[in-house]
C-alpha cells in the first residue's frame, strides 16, 4: 500500500488558546521551555491571540511542493514521503534562501551561534514515520489540531463546513494555497482578518523558478550559436578586407583562401 502523506487540520473555532501544543512541541523536540511570541529557532509553534478573541497557531505548513525545498541549493531541506519537510544540517550552507522563499515566513536561523542551523517544525518526523501522531495534535485537549493523512483531513474539513456553514468561513486555508499544504486551517472569519497571507498563488511557487530554469539549455545553445556566428561574421569581414587590401578586390575565391 502506498504511504499516505500526513498533515494537520487546525480548526480555529475549536482552539481555546491553552498552549498545550507549544508545550508538547518543546518537550518532544528537546527545545528550551520558554515560548517566544513568534516563531524562532527555539519555538516551532506558537498560539497567538487575535483582536477578535480567536487563537491562531503558527507553524510550518509542510507544503505539498515546498518553496524552501526547491530553493535549497544543496537539498538540505527535503519533503519526505510521509509528509514532513525536514532539514539536514550536515549539508546546509546557511545561505538562508529558504527563509526568503517561504511564503509563510517559517524557517528560522540561529543568529547567535557560530555553528548556526535552520530550525523549524518537522511535523514530528521521527514519530510520523512510525505511524504515530504529532506531539501537538496528541496534546490538544479540544481536538482543534487533528493529525491524519491529508486526503482524510480535507474530507473532514469539507464535512465540517457543510455541517455547520454558519460556524465556518467557507474556505480551507492550505487546500490550494501555493499548490496545497499539509497543515490546513478552518476559521470562523475570513483569513485576512487573522493576518494570514491571502495573497498567494494556487500553484507551487517552485513552478515559477523552474519555468525559468528550464530555459537554461535553450539560452546556452542560442547564445553559443549567436556568439559563434558573430565571431565568424565579424572576423571574416576583416579578413576579407585585409585580403582586398593586399591583392585588390579580386574574385571572391581568392579572398576565401586567406
Amino acid at each position: 500500500m502506498a504511504i499516505k502523506s500526513s498533515g494537520l487540520l487546525i480548526d480555529i473555532t475549536r482552539c481555546i488558546g491553552c498552549g498545550a501544543c507549544s508545550d508538547a512541541c518543546k518537550e518532544i523536540n528537546d527545545l528550551p521551555p520558554e515560548i517566544d511570541d513568534k516563531l524562532t529557532a527555539e519555538t516551532w509553534t506558537v498560539v497567538r491571540e487575535k483582536d477578535n478573541d480567536l487563537h491562531v497557531r503558527d507553524l510550518c505548513r509542510h507544503c505539498v511542493e515546498p518553496a524552501c525545498v526547491a530553493s535549497c541549493l544543496v537539498a538540505a531541506l527535503t519533503k519526505t514521503e510521509h509528509g514532513p519537510v525536514i532539514y539536514d544540517k550536515s549539508v546546509c550552507i546557511g545561505c538562508r534562501y529558504c527563509m526568503v522563499a517561504c511564503p509563510f515566513q517559517v524557517p528560522c536561523f540561529e543568529w547567535h551561534s557560530p555553528n548556526p542551523r535552520i530550525r523549524k517544525c518537522i511535523l514530528c518526523e521521527p514519530r510520523v514515520r512510525e505511524g504515530k501522531s504529532t506531539g501537538c495534535a496528541e496534546a490538544c485537549p479540544t481536538e482543534a489540531t487533528v493529525f491524519g493523512d491529508r486526503e482524510t483531513l480535507v474530507e473532514m474539513a469539507r464535512a465540517r463546513i457543510k455541517a455547520d456553514p454558519k460556524r465556518y468561513h467557507d474556505h480551507i486555508y492550505g487546500l490550494d494555497e501555493v499548490g496545497g499544504t499539509a497543515v490546513m486551517f478552518l476559521s470562523p472569519v475570513p483569513f485576512e482578518d487573522l493576518d494570514f497571507n491571502t495573497d498567494l498563488v494556487n500553484y507551487p511557487l517552485s513552478d515559477i523558478t523552474w519555468n525559468i530554469l528550464r530555459q537554461v539549455p535553450t539560452i546556452v545553445a542560442g547564445g553559443a550559436v549567436f556568439l559563434g556566428a558573430s565571431y565568424w561574421l565579424f572576423n571574416r569581414r576583416e579578413k576579407v578586407k585585409q585580403a582586398e587590401q593586399v591583392v585588390g578586390p579580386g574574385p571572391k575565391k581568392e579572398a576565401d583562401d586567406v
Binding site: L39, I93, G94, W111, H112, L213, S230
Partner: protein
C-alpha cells in the same frame, strides 16, 4: 628612507587600513558569536545589505568584464583592447571579493563544497553558485594572459591566443546565465515583494541592467584609475562605451516600464508614497539622468559629465538591487531592517581590499598594456 615611508601613508590608505583593522575584529565576532552579533538581520529579514551590495550589486557591476571581452574578441571591436584587461581585472577582483563576502555571509561556509556533491538543480541558487565558480575560473584564465606577458611565457601566450575566443564565448554564456539567475532567485517570493520590483521577468531585468551597469562601472573605474593611479582615461573610447550604455539603458527602461504596464501595476509608480519615491529616485539615477546627459552631448561628452553619468549609473544600479533584495520586502512587511554600522564596515573592508588588490595589480602587471598583442596583429 623616512621620506618614502611618509609618502606611503596617504589619507585614503589610512582610511582603508582603519576599515581593514576594524573589519578583522568584526569578522572575529561574526565567526565566534554568529551573524546576529554584528548584523541587524533577523528571521524576518534573512537577507540584508551584504546580499544587496556585496553580492547582487557587486556581481552586476563586474559585468563589464564579459561585455568588454565579448566586444573585443567576439565582435572584433579591436579599438577597445586597451580597456579590456582592466575590465577583466575588475571582474576577476569583483568575483574574488564576492566569494570572500559569501564566506562571511553564509552561516555555514565550511559546507560550501556541498554544492558540488549535493546539487539541487531546481534551485536557482545552485545555478548561480555553479556559474560563479565556473566564471571565476574563466576570468582567471582570461586574465592569465597578463601574467604570460609579464613573465614572457610566449608559448603559453600562443596557447591563450588560440583559446581566447572560446574562453570569452564561454564566459559570456556563463555570465548571461548567472546575472539573470540572480534575478530568478527573487521570483519565488511574489507575495513578499512590492509589485514595483517583483516581476516574473526579473531575470531579464537583471540581465539588461547588468550590461549597462557593467559598462558604467568600466567608465567609473577609468576615472578612479586616473585619480589614484594617474592613468589618464581614454575619453575617445569611454564616450562610445557610454553611448552604447545609454542605448542599453533605454532598452532596460522600456522593458521595465512595459513590464509594469502589462502587469497592471504601473499606477503604483504614480501613487504618492515611499515606494514611488524610491522607484523614481532609482530610475532617475540609473536611467533618466544618464540617458539625458549622454544623448545631449553625444560623443563630445566632457570628462565631468561622463564622470557624473557613470557615477549615477553605478549608484542607481546599486539602488535597484537594494530595492529588490531589501526594500521591496520591507515595503510589504516592515521588519524595521536597517544595516548596522558593522555591516557597513565589513562592506567597506571588502571594497578597500578590492582597491588595494587593483592598485597592486596595476603596479605590478601590464594591465594597461596589451601593446604586444597589438603589434602582433
Amino acid at each position: 628612507m623616512f621620506r618614502s615611508a611618509v609618502k606611503l601613508i596617504t589619507p585614503w590608505r589610512l582610511i582603508m587600513a582603519a576599515f581593514l583593522a576594524t573589519g578583522a575584529v568584526l569578522v572575529f565576532f561574526r565567526f565566534t558569536r554568529g551573524l546576529g552579533s554584528i548584523t541587524n538581520l533577523s528571521d524576518q529579514t534573512p537577507w540584508g545589505m551584504w546580499v544587496g551590495f556585496d553580492i547582487l550589486a557587486g556581481i552586476g557591476l563586474a559585468a563589464g568584464g564579459f561585455v568588454m571581452a565579448a566586444a573585443v574578441y567576439v565582435f572584433n571591436l579591436k579599438k577597445y583592447r586597451p580597456i579590456v584587461r582592466m575590465a577583466i581585472l575588475t571582474a576577476l577582483l569583483g568575483y574574488i571579493i564576492f566569494i570572500v563576502g559569501l564566506i562571511l555571509e553564509v552561516g555555514r561556509p565550511w559546507n560550501m563544497w556541498r554544492v558540488i556533491t549535493n546539487p539541487n538543480i531546481h534551485s536557482p541558487l545552485y545555478e548561480v553558485s555553479l556559474c560563479v565558480m565556473a566564471y571565476t575560473m574563466v576570468l582567471f584564465l582570461e586574465f592569465s594572459q597578463v601574467f604570460f606577458e609579464k613573465f614572457g611565457w610566449n608559448r603559453l601566450m600562443a596557447v591563450f591566443h588560440r583559446l581566447s575566443v572560446m574562453l570569452v564565448i564561454l564566459g559570456a554564456l556563463i555570465s548571461t546565465l548567472h546575472q539573470s539567475t540572480l534575478g530568478t532567485l527573487f521570483t519565488i517570493a511574489p507575495s513578499k515583494m512590492h509589485p514595483l520590483w517583483y516581476s516574473p521577468l526579473l531575470p531579464v531585468h537583471f540581465f539588461l541592467s547588468c550590461i549597462a551597469a557593467g559598462l558604467g562601472m568600466v567608465c567609473f573605474e577609468s576615472f578612479l584609475s586616473e585619480r589614484f593611479l594617474k592613468h589618464p582615461p581614454r575619453m575617445d573610447l569611454l564616450s562610445r562605451i557610454a553611448r552604447f550604455m545609454a542605448v542599453m539603458l533605454v532598452a532596460y527602461f522600456i522593458f521595465r516600464i512595459g513590464d509594469l504596464a502589462v502587469r497592471g501595476v504601473i499606477g503604483l509608480a504614480f501613487t504618492a508614497g515611499f515606494a514611488a519615491l524610491l522607484f523614481w529616485l532609482e530610475n532617475l539615477l540609473f536611467v533618466i539622468l544618464p540617458i539625458i546627459m549622454v544623448f545631449r552631448r553625444g560623443l563630445n561628452i566632457g570628462r565631468t559629465s561622463l564622470f557624473i553619468v557613470s557615477f549615477s549609473v553605478v549608484l542607481g544600479f546599486i539602488m535597484h538591487r537594494f530595492n529588490v533584495a531589501i526594500t521591496s520586502f520591507q515595503l510589504v512587511k516592515d521588519a524595521g531592517y536597517f544595516p548596522s554600522w558593522m555591516e557597513f564596515v565589513v562592506t567597506a573592508c571588502l571594497i578597500s581590499a578590492g582597491f588595494i588588490a587593483a592598485g597592486l595589480a596595476v603596479h605590478l602587471l601590464p594591465v594597461h598594456g596589451g601593446e604586444t598583442e597589438k603589434s602582433k596583429n
